[in-house]
Symmetry: C2
Subunit: 302 residues, 2 copies
C-alpha cells in the first residue's frame, strides 16, 4: 500500500572516528524513504534548496520513490553538521542551519492524499497535524516521530497531533520526558491515553521495544564489528518498519513483530557506511539474509 | 550435575525509591545459590561472622544448598549499604565493611572437590584461581565474574585466573575495560584469547548478550512495571544460568541459549522485592510461566 513520509531532506557534514564527510545527502526523510523503498513505493514531502542538484535527486530516482512532493525553494537546503565521540556513543552537533526548512509548510500533492500509511517525521507538531488534515481520508496507519525540543517546547500542539496517531516512534528518554514516567510499561500506558495504541521505543545499540496494548516485543540491535556512522539509524529503522507494514498492508501482531525485525535489519546496514551510502546499495537478498540472522540471534527452545 | 559457588554472603542495607531495609541477607553467593537451587543442588564456599544466625541459615536450609563450605569466623559478616537513585539507574555505595571477608581464603571441603560446574564470584582473582587448584579434576564448566577493581588493580592475577575459565560473565563496561576495545564483538575476540570461549555480557535493563566462538545470542530483560530493588539481579542471572547448565549437564548451543533465558527469568523475579525475598519464594511453576513469556517477548516469523 502507499506510504507517505514528511520530514527533512538535508545535507550533512559528519565526523566519526572512522572518517569524515563534508557534504552528503541526509535528513530523516531521505533515510526513511530509501529504507522503506526496499519494501514498498514511497511518497516524499519535503523541501530542498537550490543546492539540491540532479546528483542528489539521482539517489532517489530509479527507486520506488515519488518526488512530486519535494518542494524546491530559493535558498540553501537544511544543513546539519555533527561529530561523534571515540566510542560513537555521544554526538556533538556542530551546526544546524535550517535554511529553506525554516519556512517549510508541507503541502501534499493531490496524488498523495489517498496514502494509506503515513510517517510524520520529527518536525513541528502543528505541521505534522496539518499533513493529516490534508488527507482525503484517515490513513490506515499514521506513525509519528518527535523529540525533546517539541515535547518541552510545544506540548499542547504535540498532544493534539498525537490524537490521530497509531504508532509513536521515539527513544527511551523521549518516552520518559513525554509521559513523566520512568518505567517504560507505565509510560506506554500514558501514551495509549494520548492516542497511539502502539509505542515503538528505539534504543540504539540496545535494539528496539514495541509496547502494544495487547503484547510486548523486543528486538536486539544487530551486533556489528564496525560502525562507521550511526547517523540515520533511527530513521532507517522507521523506514524499514513502515515500509514493511505498508508492503503487507496489515498491522496485526505477526506483521508488527516482523516489521520491528526489518526495521532493525535496515538500520544495521545504514551504520555500516557514511550517510545513505550503504542504505542505498543494500540488496533485497542481503536484507533477507540478515533478517534470518536476527532469527538465529534471538532463537531458543525451552 | 554438582554446582559450586564461591563468593560473598553478606548483610545489606538497601534504600530504593520504593522502600528501605536496614539489614537483609545479601552477597553474590547468596543470590547465586538461591537462584541456582531452583534448578540443581548447589555447594557454597563463603565466610560469615558471628552475626550470621539460624535465621539467615534458614533461608538456605530446606533447599538443595549445601553449607559445608560456609566458614564461620569470629567477627562480623561482610556488610554493604547502598542507595538507588529515583530511577534506579544509579546506585551510591554508602558503606562497605569487609569484616571477616577481608581474610577470606576459600577452602573447599573434600566433598566439594569433584564439582563439575564451578562459579567463581567476584573476589580477588588469586583466590578464584586457588579454588580451581583445589579441585580434584578440572571442572566441566568454570565461570568467572569480576569487576573494575580487579581489572585495573590486579590485571596479571586476573589474566592467570582467566586461563582456565570457560565462561566469563561481566557487564559492558567491564568487558571494554578488560579488553581495551569498545566494540563488543572485537572485545569478545580479545577475551577468547585470554581463555574463555564464551562471554556473557550482563546489560541490566537491556538484557544480556552471549558471544560464543560459534554463535551470538541476545536475550532482553523482562519488562516489569515495578522494580523494587535491583540488588542481586546480575548474581541471580548468573545463578539461573549456571544452575540450568548444571541441571542439563551439557553446554551445547541450545542449552547455552536456554540458560541465558533462565538466567534472565530468575533475575527478573529477584528485582520484584527487596533482597532475596522474591528469589527465595518464587516457584518452579512461576519460573516456567515467565520463561514462556520470554518466548512471546522475542518471537517472530519472517
Amino acid at each position: 500500500m502507499s506510504l507517505l513520509v514528511v520530514g527533512s531532506v538535508a545535507f550533512d557534514a559528519i565526523e566519526t572516528p572512522l572518517g569524515k564527510v563534508d557534504r552528503t545527502l541526509g535528513g530523516a526523510a531521505s533515510y526513511f524513504a530509501l529504507a522503506a523503498s526496499h519494501f514498498t513505493p514511497v511518497r516524499i514531502v519535503a523541501v530542498v534548496g537550490e543546492d539540491f542538484t540532479k546528483k542528489e535527486e539521482g539517489v532517489f530516482r530509479g527507486r520506488k520513490i515519488n518526488l512530486d512532493g519535494l518542494e524546491r525553494a530559493s535558498g540553501k537546503s537544511f544543513f546539519w553538521s555533527g561529530r561523534y565521540s571515540t566510542n560513537m556513543n555521544e554526538r556533538t552537533t556542530l551546526a544546524t542551519e535550517l535554511n529553506v526548512f525554516a519556512n517549510f509548510r508541507p503541502t501534499l500533492p493531490v496524488s498523495y492524499r489517498d496514502s494509506r500509511f503515513v510517517f510524520l517525521g520529527n518536525i513541528d507538531p502543528t505541521l505534522q497535524r496539518s499533513v493529516l488534515r490534508q488527507m482525503k481520508s484517515k490513513p490506515k496507519v499514521a506513525a509519528l516521530d518527535t523529540m525533546n525540543y517539541w515535547i518541552s517546547g510545544t506540548p499542547e500542539a504535540l498532544r493534539q497531533a498525537l490524537k490521530d496517531i497509531h504508532v509513536l516512534m521515539i527513544n527511551d528518554d523521549e518516552t520518559r520526558q513525554l509521559t513523566g514516567e520512568h518505567n517504560l510499561l507505565r509510560a506506554a500506558k500514558a501514551v495509549f491515553k494520548m492516542g497511539p495504541r502502539t509505542l515503538v521505543i528505539k534504543r540504539g545499540e540496545h535494539g528496539a521495544l514495541m509496547i502494544h496494548e495487547k503484547f510486548i516485543f523486543s528486538v536486539p540491535a544487530f551486533p556489528l564489528e564496525e560502525v562507521h556512522d550511526p547517523t540515520g539509524a533511527g530513521d532507517s529503522f522507521a523506514g524499514g518498519f513502515m515500509g514493511y507494514l505498508a508492503s503487507v498492508g496489515r498491522i496485526d501482531e505477526p506483521t508488527l513483530r516482523s516489521a520491528m525485525v526489518y526495521g532493525s535489519v535496515v538500520g544495521s546496514f545504514t551504520v555500516e557506511r557514511f550517510g545513505v551510502e550503504r542504505l542505498a546499495n543494500v540488496t533485497r537478498r542481503e536484507l533477507a539474509a540478515r533478517a534470518r540472522r536476527f532469527s538465529k540471534l534471538t532463537a531458543f527452545r525451552l
